[in-house]
Symmetry: C2
Subunit: 337 residues, 2 copies
DNA sequence: CTGTTAGCGCCTTCAC
DNA sequence: GTGAAGGCGCTAACAG
């Protein structure tokens, strides 16, 4: 293919009409074997490829799915993408990837871009579901699946997530059962509902239930990066009153925390227990092996993608709420007092 | 916006022609303040958004860049994406993400999709540059930047990479200087040129130069995952003749290898040294801290994106070869004999 | 300055 | 079965 050829050109060369070409290209209507052959051979020769943009314009579909996540360099999210891509691919969709870095404005911005671009669907790992989000999803008509937290919208879009409150509650319960009484938490960033508010809530419930002390200086809210975990640990451990266990709301933060602790002479888990969340790839490679709340991001991504496809195909969805399993995995970074 | 409105509708409601609407929307030509205001207010009211697909059809640009990498869950590649997205975003481009899992057929498949979709550019982290690739890039006219290895094409596309042969050579040299004489290598997958062939070559050159033994049973070729590193280590260590050092061509593999070694009673680095490659986030969090060849993927991604933008803008590019710096970082996973 | 018109490349009635 | 014609939503000459 030298210069962009169009359906018209190949119609001419095959001595047929453009509609015939279109028909054989789409297998949309019966075309005599003769013409079909003629068209196909010209297509072959010229290496002709139909213009997907033009096609999209008339068909009103782009075969593109917008995927919006907070951060791609977090193993949890990249696994999510793996799951998403795997199923979308089999349905002929591609991924338009955007990252918000947990910034609400960026989320809104990308959401609008998704709409402008006429994307066929959206998979969205929300940070905080604000009124502006609600507005957007009230007005838009783009099939959507939310990932990572429960989201209530007028339009009734499904979401797939674990029960974050419960999971955090159970993780904290476990620590309590291990006789820990002074437990700190490193939660997600300030505005992050799922890994921030929800998990913090579960933690608080467990502490209250057990009648344990709640120090706000033992509660941090930071991004899910190793660096932020390191910093959060430094804050917590700079208090005069020190915890015997830290519940990190992501393995990334747990790793950063352990790094800090070790550099400052604490042994994990002998001096202080650290619980993670996610069970990323290296949770079992790291030493001590991370005790953590295992999620299955590949599955979650795949599930979300399937729910999206269903919506696009107009299938009635079975349920809005898709709670997926998680599991507390006890390994070496925590111990009983 | 209830039902999809078009430029036509808002032209009607504002009592102007479609071209006027188009003009104010694009700021393309001077429009009287009066009309402009009228149009803008209607746009405001209706929440009108121009259809990017239609726009793309006439402008022959999609503002979409195809990014093709082997694997997103590898920290090195996700960092690459971070760098790419950061600069593309400022130019109004979005990313169409695809992963090849190092499969040549998938690469070709996605490349074709990129072309079909009329993407404005391609950033491609090649596995192996085959004749089919060469064909594709000979016929296509899509601006491209190669990432991670030197690639020669007719069309003269730029590439950004470190000098893999040299880097591997130096890494191996270092091990040799540390008095290691029996050095194994865990290279990239069979068909991977950069992390496979090139790094293996650098390793071999260093060994030959030093007159050290070359055992093919000390050379593995596997994917850059923790699991594959684990497995590769098991293969190497099952030989009767055992190495005193392993040069892993990715930190992922190094991590997997160390995991294997420890599970099987070897201490790192006391019994066996392990050298990594990449310097991913957790190289310094892991214990022992990884001795590794540091790359800067965020920068590399950003550089690639800039080179692509230059191409798209028709700027003459300064150089095809963009060798970026790397650095051997000695930490704790290797030691002198 | 503004409106009319002709496409961009493709699909889809609608007649033949 | 096949072709001609209209239109998807937008932009860019071309007149006025």
């Amino acid at each position: 293919m030298q210069i962009k050829s169009s359906i018209k050109d190949i119609a001419k060369r095959a001595n047929v009409s453009v509609s015939t070409v279109s028909r054989v290209l789409n297998n949309s209507k019966y075309v005599s074997e003769d013409l079909k052959r003629r068209v196909l051979s010209v297509v072959e020769e010229t290496g002709f490829k139909p213009n997907m943009v033009a096609r999209g314009l008339v068909n009103k579909k782009t075969s593109l799915i917008g995927v919006l996540i907070p951060r791609i360099s977090n193993n949890f999210f990249s696994k999510l993408i793996e799951g998403i891509e795997e199923v979308l691919q089999t349905y002929g969709y591609n991924i338009l990837l955007s990252t918000s870095y947990n910034e609400i404005e960026k989320e809104l911005e990308y959401l609008n871009i998704f709409e402008d671009r006429q994307l066929d669907g959206i998979i969205f790992s929300v940070t905080e579901f604000t009124d502006q989000h609600k507005n957007f999803f009230g007005e838009t008509v783009v099939p959507t699946v939310f990932l990572g937290q429960k989201v209530e919208t007028l339009k009734k879009y499904p979401y797939v997530t674990i029960d974050n409150i419960k999971a955090a509650y159970e993780a904290t319960r476990y620590l309590i059962k291990q006789k820990h009484k002074r437990i700190a938490i490193m939660a997600g960033p300030e505005k992050d509902c799922a890994t921030g508010d929800n998990r913090l809530q579960g933690y608080l419930e467990a502490l209250k239930e057990a009648g344990l002390p709640l120090y706000t200086s033992w509660q941090t809210r930071r991004y899910h990066t190793i660096d932020d975990g390191y910093y959060a640990a430094s804050q917590i451990m700079s208090q005069s009153e020190k915890p015997t266990a830290i519940f990190a709301c992501s393995d990334q933060q747990a790793l950063g925390a352990i790094n800090y602790l070790r550099e400052h002479g604490y042994r994990v888990p002998e001096d202080i227990s650290v619980m993670g969340f996610d069970d990323v790839d290296l949770a079992t490679v790291f030493r001590p092996k991370l005790t953590t709340v295992k999620q299955n991001p590949v599955d979650m991504g795949a599930t979300a993608a399937r729910l999206l496809i269903d919506q696009i195909h107009g299938n009635s969805l079975t349920a809005l709420e898709n709670l997926v399993p998680y599991r507390l995995v006890v390994r070496e970074s925590t111990k009983s007092l």
